[in-house]
Amino acid sequence: MRAQLKGDVVEVKVLMSHPMETGRRKDDFDRLVPAHFVQLLTATLNGKPVLEAQWGNGISKNPYLTFRLRGAKVGDIVAVTWHDNHGATATQDIAVTQA
């Protein structure tokens, strides 16, 4: 995860580790692999919500995301949390740095 101030905009890049199974793929034994994917992602800036993303199973494995925030400064904290269809969740956070 990275959050860099470029001009007056902070660009946040996030890479998540997740299988993002559609539920349509078959394993080596021809059995369907159950759907397992991130459904909701939220981002906050200093605890205030800035982005809510609802996802289906069409986001690629190990999801990648870039978004941009206006009005953020160096040292501010950007946090990203995801929730998947199995009820698992993970959070990453990082302080904004100068590009």
Binding site: T22, R24, E52, I59, P63, L69
Partner: protein, 144 residues
């Protein structure tokens, strides 16, 4: 009730809570729709206005449909949300991004494409909906 059982019970309850809260938020009907029109309807999208103010950057040809990078930028005033659809995927709705508190109407992500299709973007601005599309030729199915 034993104190330990009570604590275990509380822990289990807390662990269950977020999943249930977020399951309520997730638009199941829209994401499970197999037709683009139905997915749009479940997102309450109507009367889409074609707009060149939605910029879509995606490859003309994708070798592998499992990873197609798409960049979307809206120059439409008061953009609140960007929805990404792949018309010919088994379930066309890929994602819906909702922006607030200074987030720019801009997103880059990587999506799966089952076959050659339009990537369709719908932008919500107030109670109006705008749309644009970009065709991507897919050489290898990425929805396995």
């Amino acid at each position: 009730m034993q104190r330990r059982d009570f604590l275990l019970g509380m822990a289990a309850l807390i662990a269950l809570l977020p999943a249930r809260v977020f399951a309520a938020l997730w638009n199941k009907a829209a994401f499970e729709s197999v037709r683009l029109n139905d997915a749009s309807r479940h997102l309450d999208i109507d009367a889409e206005i074609p707009s060149a103010d939605i910029q879509i950057i995606a490859p003309d040809r994708a070798e592998n449909g499992a990873i197609v990078q798409v960049e979307v930028k809206s120059s439409i005033v008061n953009t609140e949300a960007i929805a990404i659809f792949v018309e010919k995927n088994p379930t066309p709705l890929i994602a819906n991004f909702i922006f607030s508190n200074g987030a720019e109407p801009y997103v880059v992500t990587r999506i799966k494409m089952a076959e050659t299709s339009d990537i369709k973007i719908v932008v919500k601005a107030g109670d109006r909906y705008f749309t644009n599309a970009k065709n991507v030729v897919v050489l290898e199915n990425g929805c396995g």
